[in-house]
């Protein structure tokens, strides 16, 4: 697979030339490899370590925030998250080790497995069930059922999507996203069939396919799509479950940016994700695909504003806050959409990827009523990556 080393030529002994023994005295061979002979400081393991600690820090923020909540089943939400993290990371590392031992052509890659475990937990939805949004269909959001689901997603993702796909040469889809999607598909498939939802729709989420607003007062939207009291939905869905606040635009904004008590565990505090993610990009300069994150966030913002104007929303920020800062968008933008293996390698490709991801996410969330639709969008874009890689805009030097 790798180029053959230069063959060491035989030394002839019948020479009057003083034969050099300097290093061969200890029968040490000189190492001969192709150039270059020095290497930069970055290695795969280091990249994975950086990522691990970045995601871990956001999860710790979530744990601390969520330790204030106790779900109906009697589990502390912060503790639930901590246990989920231990389960997913532990299982991922253990299975990675086992597979590495059993299958000769699979290398043990502890840090990579650990990052995978964190992502499984980070994109899992936890929270306080049966609130204003009604039953969470097919998504067990509290312990102890959540533990089993996290474990299943971890093992499925690691074995099928990480290892088996790795054998095929390269991974086509983000393993954590694919596994979660597959496991939860029975519960979420129904949402894909419905073209739009109102508050009474299948997933019991408000429709974004029409004018919305930050107000918390339920008004009439004339019987069509859209949900004028979208702010009220956000407030009741994401605020501390014990709180009975009605909410103001300020408090809603604060919730979306700082403390969401429901949703993707990794995205509970959007600001924490942004800080950890940015720190990661700065630390691992140029090795992480920050262009995807940046182009995703920018195009999501632009699209939300366009839709707000097109639908005649009561204000411009309701849609913006939702599309940008729900956990599934913000966590995915920084830590899942930038997964190296399943995203394009050129800078231009990464921007195309980010924009495509934003378009799909917004479309899915607006017209299909599948909140957290970024997961599906990510899988679609992952599959398109080989095609995006073929796009070349800049020619080589002097061509």
């Amino acid at each position: 697979m790798f180029p053959k080393k230069f063959n060491k030529p035989p030394l002839k002994d019948n020479t009057s030339f003083e034969k050099v023994k300097l290093m061969s005295e200890n029968s040490n061979e000189l190492v001969v490899n192709p150039a270059p002979h020095i290497h930069g400081p970055m290695t795969k393991n280091r990249m994975m370590q950086y990522t691990f600690f970045a995601i871990l820090s956001t999860l710790i923020v979530s744990m601390v925030l969520w330790s204030q909540v106790t779900t109906p089943s009697g589990w502390n939400l912060g503790l639930t998250l901590a246990i989920c993290t231990v389960i997913s990371v532990g299982l991922a590392v253990a299975f990675d080790f086992l597979i590495g031992k059993v299958a000769s052509d699979s290398e043990v890659n502890t840090w990579s497995a650990a990052v995978f475990g964190l992502i499984v937990t980070g994109c899992y939805t936890l929270g306080f069930p049966s609130m204003a949004i009604g039953a969470e269909m097919g998504v067990p959001v509290e312990a102890p059922l959540a533990f089993y689901y996290v474990a299943i997603i971890t093992v499925l993702g690691l074995v099928v999507f990480k290892k088996v796909m790795g054998l095929a040469g390269r991974k086509f889809v983000n393993p954590a996203a694919a596994a979660k999607f597959l496991v939860l598909l029975p519960g979420t498939a129904v949402t894909l069939l419905t073209s739009w939802h109102s508050i009474t729709g299948m997933l019991s989420v408000p429709s974004l396919n029409g004018p919305i607003g930050l107000t918390t007062i339920v008004g009439s939207n004339g019987g069509g799509a859209g949900y004028p009291a979208f702010g009220g939905y956000l407030q009741s869905c994401y605020q501390l479950p014990t709180s009975m606040d009605i909410g103001t635009p300020e408090s809603i904004t604060q919730i979306m940016l700082l403390t969401k008590y429901h949703g993707w565990t990794g995205g509970a505090c959007s600001i924490a994700v942004i800080i950890a993610g940015t720190a990661l990009f700065i630390l691992g300069r140029k090795y992480f695909k920050w262009r995807i994150t940046a182009s995703f966030l920018v195009s999501t913002a632009v699209l939300s504003l366009i839709l707000s104007v097109a639908f005649g929303d009561a204000d411009l920020i309701a849609r913006l806050l939702f599309e940008l800062f729900i956990g599934s968008s913000i966590f995915m933008a920084f830590f899942m959409a930038t997964d190296p293996a399943t995203t394009p390698y050129s800078g231009v490709g990464q921007i195309i990827f980010g924009v495509g991801l934003a378009v799909l996410t917004v479309i899915i969330q607006t017209f299909m009523g599948f909140f957290g639709g970024s997961l599906l969008a990510l899988l679609i874009m992952n599959l398109l990556t080989p095609a995006i890689d073929k796009i070349r805009i800049n020619k080589p030097f002097g061509r």
Partner: protein, 428 residues
């Protein structure tokens, strides 16, 4: 925008160490071929007595450069030796030193005052007979490079004093200690090219060399010393034209087609020695550096076995010896290999550093793509090459690779990208 990767220079001690003259070798191993172009044949046979500067190998061909004896003594053997110029052993003339230091007749020279009235053909002939080749590593005969067709006016002469390779300091010391000689050499080259504008390009990190150059070139006509921030990759002739003159030379065209000649300082130094002093190219400055306590800059005779240099400096414990730079040089398979005209440095790696890094699977991070200074996609070419698909590699412009090694340097999976791209390039 160019993709440029910073590579630590590692020159702190070496750049302050004056050039030291290394004693003549007991046995010189002079490669018959140290240049690119036509193959030389030996002009001497075993038993012949040769003197310093005597031509010992040459060939009648357009692109060629002769080789001279660095020492006086007897030819004891003509045999193949593994060396740093080729990937396989090639012919070398072994000369045993008699210690008499007898000198051969010097080359024709011209006086400095006569330069303007000397015909270009005559200068080029001196340069050819002196055996001067590109000493930055390429080894292209300089007399051919400087013989620019009359209908191709040259606007710029870039004197390449960037020395981008980490650890290498030979050019820097030449700029510091042989500044006056460089001025003479630049005059010759400028005359040959029809008086273009001269830009002496160097890095601002060469704090000792910059003022020396500025002082020396102060009164030269139409000459500028440009000390800027250049990365390793910008030491390449094409990249340098982009950095200094702002255009990208068209791929596949000879340098003079763009109206610019880039000439390395070591070569210019050799030109001055040949034209005014009649000295053929029989010695050069090479840096001795790497994982050793006392880096040095040595004036060595071409043909000195590397082992002799290491032994004289009591370097016994290295895992590998790199000749010609950490990024682009080769690792020697035997220490019998001699110093050649292209040996800009001899770098020792300790056993830990010499150990090959284990390549793992590509993680598709795209770093190699953003690092390639000439905007190739090393990972795509690599994938094509390991499948044996050289057609595809060609479509991906593998032939444009400048072999800078940056892609391998940055790859977090330790893949040997550069050598694979080079394989595709050489298969074209």
């Amino acid at each position: 925008m160019a993709n440029l990767v910073h590579i630590p220079e590692q020159k702190e001690v070496a750049r302050k160490t004056p050039i030291e003259i290394f004693p003549d070798p007991k046995i010189a191993v002079v490669l018959t071929n140290q240049q690119s172009g036509a193959t030389n044949v030996p002009l001497v046979k075993v038993g012949d007595v040769v003197s310093i500067g005597q031509k010992i190998a040459d060939v009648q061909a357009k692109v060629s450069a002769p080789v001279h004896s660095p020492i006086s003594g007897t030819v004891i053997k003509i045999d193949n030796v593994y060396n740093s110029c080729f990937e396989y052993p090639t012919e070398a003339i072994y000369i045993e030193n008699d210690g008499k230091k007898t000198k051969a007749k010097p080359l024709n020279t011209i006086k400095e005052s006569e330069l303007a009235s000397t015909k270009n053909e005559e200068l080029l002939k001196i340069i050819r007979e002196a055996g001067i080749v590109g000493m930055g590593g390429a080894g292209f005969p300089t007399s051919v490079k400087l013989a620019v067709p009359a209908d191709k006016p040259i606007k710029h002469l870039l004197v390449n004093g960037a020395e981008g390779e980490p650890y290498d300091t030979a050019d820097e010391r030449v700029m510091i200690e042989r500044t006056a000689n460089l001025v003479r050499g630049v005059r010759v080259v400028r005359k040959l090219l029809g008086n273009p504008k001269v830009i002496v390009v160097t890095k601002e990190s060469k704090v000792e060399a910059v003022p020396k150059l500025q002082e020396a070139f102060k009164n030269e006509p139409d000459t500028e010393v440009r000390a800027t921030h250049l990365t390793y990759q910008q030491g390449d002739a094409g990249m340098m034209q982009k950095a200094i003159l702002g255009y990208e030379p068209i791929a596949g065209k000879r340098s003079y087609e763009m109206g610019t000649i880039v000439q390395n300082v070591a070569t210019i130094n050799a030109i001055a020695n040949a034209v005014f002093d009649g000295e053929p190219l029989i010695s050069r400055v090479a840096a001795l550096n790497g994982d050793i306590p006392t880096p040095k800059n040595l004036m060595v005779k071409i043909g000195t076995p590397i082992s002799e240099i290491l032994k004289a400096n009591s370097i016994t414990d290295c895992g590998s010896v790199v000749v010609g730079g950490m990024m682009m040089g080769v690792q020697l398979a035997t220490l019998d290999a001699p110093v050649t005209k292209r040996t800009s440095s001899i770098l020792c790696l300790n056993k830990a550093h010499a150990k090959a890094r284990k390549p793992t699977a590509c993680i598709h991070c795209g770093r190699c793509v953003s690092a390639c200074p000439i905007r190739l996609q090393p990972v795509a070419i690599y994938n094509a090459v390991i499948k044996g698909d050289f057609k595809k590699a060609e479509k991906l412009w593998a032939q444009d690779c400048i072999m800078c090694g940056t892609c391998s340097y940055v790859c977090p999976a330790n893949l040997p990208l550069a050598s694979n791209v080079k394989m595709a390039r050489n298969s074209q």
